[in-house]
Amino acid sequence: MSKQPLRNRRWAALRGTIMKRLWCVLSLALLPLSAAWAQVDPDVLAAEAARVAVVERASRATLAIFANGGQGGGSGVVISPDGYALTNFHVTHEAGVAMKCGMADGRLYDAVIVGLDPTGDVALVKVLGRDDFPAAEMADSDLVQVGDWCFAIGNPFLLATDFHPTVSYGVISGVHRYQYPAGTILEYSDCLQADAAINPGNSGGPMFDAQGRLIGINGRGSFEKRGRVNVGVGYAISINQIKNFLGHLKSGRLVDHATLGARMRSDEDRRVIVDDILEESDAFRRGLRYGDELLSFAGRTVGTVNAFKNVLGIYPKGWRVPLSFQRKGERVDVLVRLRGVHREGELAELVEAGQKIDPENPPKPKPGQPPTPEPDRKPSPRHHAKPPPMPEIVKQYFVEKPGYVNYYFNALNRDRVWKALVARGDFAAWQGAWTIAGDTPMGEAFKLEFSDQQASIKLPGGELKITLEGELSGRLEPPGSGGLLVALAMWRRFLVLGPEKFGEVSYWGTEPLEGHDKLLDVLVAAHGDIECRFLFDPADGQLAAMEMISEEDSDPCELVFSEFKEVEGRILPGRIEARHGDDFSMTFQCKEFNFAPAAEKQE
């Protein structure tokens, strides 16, 4: 103990000398620095300050995701103040239901899985505990050009133990890139290529433009003989693709990608030609045949097979997109509904099997194709690690149900859509027969009448009536309509009973509809042997359209509702357009509505 003070004194003296010398060196160094700084153009300094601010703001929305008790992980980005955040499927695949997310504020948050898109390698999670999370603004990634500055933020090599993310900047090297599937699930189509360093751990993290707007989600790099580090070629899933899937991801489901049901090839003259087509596909029903030349798809000209796959890859199963083709010099424009890539349940099996995306046993790439998705974990494997218990807060946001990733969010959105509709008038009291009268655009008077038991239509030419008991798929009257009367009856049934009592009703996601700028919320409702899809306009909560499907791989009977008006405190359509395939269409101008209360039950 007695030696201690002496040692301290010596140290103090030594430290003094060191500090003096250091100070001399520092002041010598700082003098010219400050002088040089003063000479820098103020515009340059302002630009630098602006860039620092952009990076700082973007960093705040970035997540460091830790899965499996810190053994693996990646990055993510918050896209709304209530905590919805994007990352890669292959990052969350390690984690399961619950994960921990560190943010630049130094805090660690719990997060819960919401929905998965395994083919697109996207996962939606919800970060919990706040309703004022810093969120990134999503850009229009179709406006991104080669040579644009960009920066990636994330957690490469899982460095950020203090949760402060790493920033790497670069330029956009390519846009609309197509990357072949690694194995059978992960496919990067229409993606952005950048030379900003993307390393293992950057997976799921944001790619920003120079203004700090979100343009994509980093997820893949071209790695080869130089080991698993950045070689200046990284790929980001475009945010525009993710916007198409966002509604579906919020449904708490395993979301599937789309196929046209037709295969394309390039011919000698660099035209894209239909090489094979499924007769069950909507494209076939709309008239597309073997040998037809594809002109444009979803509004984009298609000059190569890759370009075709690029367009296809950004849409979810079930969407309708415009398609233009040419046969013998004649152009045909149609709207086609896209099929799912995977069979019912197949995607779940693949995800469950997991080996297709096992990063430790990556599938062999085709010659000349850049390989690998990237695993983002430390060497220790997941197999023996016991998952930690689910945190209490996560339990509140998770409901397990077969066929769902997290049923909690499906029920949440189903109820949200229904509440927005009934906020403008509740139909529950109108349990008796509905009568709607008016005329068609041709001036013919019509009368529609439907109840729980039967449905009828009366036109000047006669009357058609069906009963609604037992199997409905055999009663598709009037002929050629695809089941107009059943569809109208289901419309009434849905409005009167609501999603709880109608049958099995779930939230599907969002879809476009002709004449609407924004995507519509879709509820899928099963009753007996038929299925209905109800489309709601998010702007006013109104039921804008519905489809009644009596048989798989056949055209639905569609009803489009418009010219809404108030009837006895409820909002009802003044115009109903009915369609089936290309040949049946009928319009009803509704003038009189008559609703009986639940009279039958009192009898």
């Binding site: 670069g170 071209s222 190569t304």
Partner: protein, 359 residues
């Protein structure tokens, strides 16, 4: 910010200029990086203007570790393409795909293995091209753009990949001899960006204004420390050779002289045995050198690859036989060999009679 360090390191030894160097660093930090974030328009326009000049090249390869594709760029309106000389071109079927997706069969006009360059020709006209005469030099610290089809990412009409970087230093590659094994030992731009990836060889390097600076070299790994070098060969080094090829002074290999001399060179007389000629274009590797032959006297060894006979490039056993058959055996003949990664020049004496061990 690390981009400026090589430049500042160069100025540091001059102590008197330390302050100025520091000022330069600060100016470079602000000057070269910051305004680019704001001025996003000009680089994208320059890139758009250059994309039609880029060519995707497909040829031999496709086995593991040997990609069957590389990059190139047009250097004339009539379809001359400058690219890297590599095994990809060791085939009669070289395909060149232009940025608009048009696909052409390309002819190997000629190559200069010492500069690792080759010139291809496609039958097309009115093409956008880089004018080699208008290429410019660049200094260390310059911001550059690299265009290539690295990893074969782009196909058909998809544009080449573009990367950004800074010239870390302009130096001579032979300073690294023994570590980076390559026949080229001239000046290079060393880049701070990961440009020299599989398939990138033959790509273009430009400055910020889109002016051509150099051609991206092949992948080059330091055998000792496993470091990969990213570099481009300045156009100044390539221009003369390309010009000669374009002017036909490098005689195209397929245009053989019509008249064969009575007393020409041949392999047996030289004492050379080549590998079995089993392919369309079997590379002319030496299998065996006869004892006491002219070839042995000249210093040719088994496993050497014959690259040049006189001034003429040969790239097959057939080509070598044909070439020798056109040269009169009355004097000395210069032969360039590739031994390992080194180019070796030897002279064989046509008068020498080394047929003692003729089998």
């Amino acid at each position: 910010m690390i981009h400026t360090s090589p430049a500042s390191r160069r100025t540091r030894p001059r102590r008197g200029r330390a302050f100025a160097a520091l000022a330069l660093v600060v100016a470079a930090l602000g000057g070269s990086l910051v305004p680019q974030v704001m001025a996003v328009d000009s680089p994208t326009q320059a890139i758009e203007a250059n994309q039609p000049k880029m060519v995707k090249i497909y040829g031999a390869g496709g086995v593991r570790g040997l990609e069957s594709y590389q990059s190139g760029f047009l250097v004339s309106e009539q379809g001359h393409i400058l690219t890297a000389w590599s095994y990809v071109l060791d085939t009669d079927y070289i395909t060149a795909v232009l940025s608009d997706g048009r696909k052409f069969e390309a002819k190997l006009l000629n190559a200069d293995p010492r500069l690792e360059l080759a010139v291809l020709k496609i039958e097309a006209e009115d093409l956008a091209f880089f004018d080699l005469a208008a290429s410019v030099p660049a200094d260390s610290g310059s911001r550059v753009w690299a265009y290539s089809n690295l990893f074969g990412v782009a196909a058909g009409d998809e544009p080449a990949s573009v990367q950004h970087g800074i010239i870390a230093v302009k130096t001579r590659l032979d300073a690294r001899r023994g570590t980076f094994e390559t026949p080229y030992h001239g000046p290079v731009y060393v880049l701070d960006a990961m440009t020299n990836n599989p398939g990138a060889a033959g790509g273009a390097l430009t400055n910020q204004n889109g002016e051509l600076l150099g051609m991206l070299g092949k992948e080059l790994r330091n055998a000792q420390n496993n470091i990969w070098l990213n570099y481009a060969i300045p156009i100044d080094e390539l221009r003369g050779s390309v010009q000669q090829i374009l002017e036909g002074k490098f005689r195209p290999t397929e245009e053989q002289a019509q008249v064969k001399p009575q007393d020409a060179f041949d392999l047996a007389q030289l004492g050379l045995v080549l590998v079995p000629d089993v392919l369309e274009l079997t590379p002319p590797y030496v299998e065996e050198v006869r004892d006491a032959s002219a070839a042995e006297t000249a210093g040719i060894r088994p496993d050497d690859l014959v690259v040049f006979v006189g001034d003429h490039l040969v790239h097959s056993c057939k080509g070598l036989r044909e070439e020798l058959a056109h040269i009169e055996r009355d004097g000395k003949l210069r032969i360039v060999l590739l031994r390992g990664q080194e180019l070796v020049e030897v002279e064989v004496n046509g008068q020498a009679q080394g047929e003692a061990t003729q089998p």
